[in-house]
């Protein structure tokens, strides 16, 4: 008797629980959790991203957006490991150097249709040059949300103390050339402080040297990316100039020497303008932001980019694309541009940029930011970049010594990367 009663109760409970369970399953199926991998762990950045996510979640109550900060140095490795492990994020930031790999492999969900269909998005104001690396066959695969020009921060206190002219004076006299910039750095270097630091180069991230060699019109490979041009005259001349600056003029700290510009220990540093946030608030020094000096090939600018893409393998690629459209719409792009300069034409004016970059003067914004974004070439990138980067890094080690054979080494590097470029 007890057995039958228990059986009846169990059946009744099951009958009640099943629809409940079904409804829960239905809700769980509708719920969409989007995950975006990023390389920033900056609190101010995350606060803004979460605000943007909250705005999207308001209109899409079933969607939640989370950001996963991965270490900057090993970001692409960590991202591809996640993909290999079957745990790909829905959306990911992508370095400009890795852009070709992601775009050409088919790893990314095409964004053009979603962006165009978003009301008020106005995709046309993104210049073709800004979108070039992120597009294939006329379709945009990742949105370049950050287009940050490289410029030179200078420490006028150290420069004046060394007896050299501050760069602003050289610019006014139309003498802001690489020869004079290195002479200034060398003068400071003789005082025991550091001269010029190409930030993050550290004798490994050689692509950052494009901020110097572009002044000679040099490039590691041809425009179509198929042929190595490292052994050609512009590159040999540019690297000879850099080599002399390191080993003869002591204008650039040598390999294995660590000097921090933002701690007030060096005359000048080439970096992206977003690094202005590193300028010291306590014990500040007199600093200036100037464009990159004129090289033998004339004036030039270099930009770094970061793209935002949606993973093709994600279950919620369509919703993720809608979030990317929301995150990068004109209104949110304006908010993002306080940290990540936007390539949207409507945001490339002094009025907007002054609001978002309060540390910079009107002149600095005009001469460095607007002109840099408008005319700058993007830092070198290629399909299979990690392998090419490693081969060149390993080859260039032979140049970073006083008695280097620069043309011979560059020829050897071309021999090594030639087959990789053709793949």
């Amino acid at each position: 008797m007890n057995y039958h009663r228990a059986l009846k109760s169990a059946v009744a409970a099951l009958a009640l629980a099943m629809p409940l369970g079904w409804s829960c399953t239905a809700t769980a199926q509708d719920a969409v959790n989007l995950r975006m991998t990023i390389w920033s762990a900056n609190e101010a950045h995350l606060k803004l991203f979460n605000e943007i996510a909250a705005g999207f979640e308001k209109d899409h109550p079933n969607v939640t957006v989370t950001y996963e900060s991965l270490p900057f140095d090993t970001y692409t490795t960590a991202l591809t490991t996640q993909i290999a492990g079957g745990n790909a994020p829905d959306m990911a930031w992508i370095f400009e150097t890795a852009a070709y790999d992601f775009v050409n492999s088919g790893a990314l969900f095409p964004l053009s249709d979603t962006l165009k269909a978003t009301k008020g998005y106005n995709l046309e104001e993104l210049s073709a040059s800004a979108a070039e690396r992120w597009s294939k066959d006329g379709k945009l695969y990742a949105y370049p949300f950050s287009t940050s020009p490289f410029a030179m921060f200078v420490n006028n206190d150290l420069i004046k103390a060394s007896g050299a002219k501050p760069p602003a004076e050289l610019i006014a006299a139309d003498q802001w050339s690489w020869d004079n910039a290195i002479a200034t750095a060398s003068a400071v270097g003789q005082t025991g402080k550091g001269g010029l630091i190409v930030r993050d180069f550290n004798y490994q991230i050689w692509q950052n040297l494009a901020s110097v060699w572009n002044g000679w019109g040099a490039s590691p490979w041809s425009a179509d990316g198929k042929a190595c041009t490292m052994a050609e005259k512009p590159m040999v001349d540019a690297l000879t100039f850099i080599h002399d600056a390191i080993f003869k003029k002591k204008a650039i700290p040598g390999p294995g020497e660590n000097v921090d510009f933002f701690a007030g220990n060096a005359a000048m540093t080439i970096t992206q303008i977003s690094r202005a946030s590193l300028l010291p608030k306590e014990n500040p020094f007199a600093w200036d932001l100037v464009p990159l000096p004129k090289g033998p090939a004339g004036n030039y600018a270099l930009i770094g980019q970061a793209g935002l893409g949606v993973m093709q393998t994600g279950k919620n690629a369509k919703t993720a694309a809608e979030f990317v459209a929301y995150m990068t719409n004109p209104e949110n792009s304006a908010k993002l541009s306080q940290f990540f300069p936007s390539a949207r034409k409507s945001l490339l004016n002094a009025e907007v940029l002054k609001k978002t970059n309060p540390l910079l003067s009107q002149e600095q914004i005009d001469k460095v930011v607007i002109s840099g974004i408008a005319t700058g070439k993007v830092i070198p990138g290629h399909t299979g970049f990690a392998q090419i980067q490693q081969a060149v890094r390993s080859g260039l080690d032979a140049i970073w010594r006083p008695d280097a054979d620069i043309p011979g080494t560059l020829l050897k590097i071309c021999g090594q990367i030639g087959p990789l470029l053709k793949r």
Binding site: G106, G256, A386, Q387, Q390, G395, D397, W400
Partner: protein, 310 residues
Amino acid sequence: MAVAQDHASPEGRSSSPFWTIARRDSLAGFLFIAPQLVGIIVFVLIPLGLVFWYSLHEWNVLANTFTYTGAQNYQMLIEDSNLLEVLGATAVFSAGLVVFNLSLALLLAILLNQRLAGITIFRTLFFSPVVVSLVAWTIVWGFLLQKNGGINGMLQVLGIEGPNWLREETTAMISVIVVQVFKNVGLNMILFLAALQGVPNELYEAARVDGAPRFKQFRRITLPLISPTILLTSIITIVGSLQVFAQIAVLTQGGPGLSTTVLVYYLYQQAFQFHFFGYGSTLSILLFLIVAVLTFAQWQMRKRIVFYES
């Protein structure tokens, strides 16, 4: 009555119970080793099989393709122009590490095998790097070995201009070896210390009575009696040296050139940086074979060079 009849039946008498003591003991034994066995199957044997399977494929993570290519990756291994240099760097690193580590560990163990007041403090001091986080240890050494770092600062006080430790091929390899030796020498030192303390004192007394000098005592008594420990430590050190990764990744990233690119680091680059997971797996198989052959060879050599009291 029926029960009594059942028991009396011939079938009942002849059938012995299934759970005999021997079977019960076996089951208990298997249950005890089961967690370890499951762990080995899940975390060692299956991944090993998978790595071999991956080595027969071209796995493009970004394009999400996994194509069977047969022995193509093994062909690539033979034709890889960097591999010889990488294996050379691996051999130099392993040989340098084993020789330096074992001789320093033995020397320290002999020095610390004294009955002196406060000797435990020295033993603790020399052992302490073993328990320090490897990456933290390496990062600190990275700063010390910079051109304008602590080591060259000290040398400058003595009027010596130190080299650019991590940027020159020879000194970079020496630096990586020394950093690794100082990190782990304490472990081998403790093993040697235990072995030295196990050598019977009477043997030394008898040798002294026979007039044997100290070096001869060391060569004829100490070395043979601690030879099993030398074998053990050399196997551990060689296998460990072939797995070095963090030190290379933090200190030199394989440079300058390929001078400190050891096999594990090369494998990591191929698989995780260049996204050639298939070729990376092939390099893993090569590493596995090298470790297996070296361990087997050392184990075979024990009969010739190791002295067992029993």
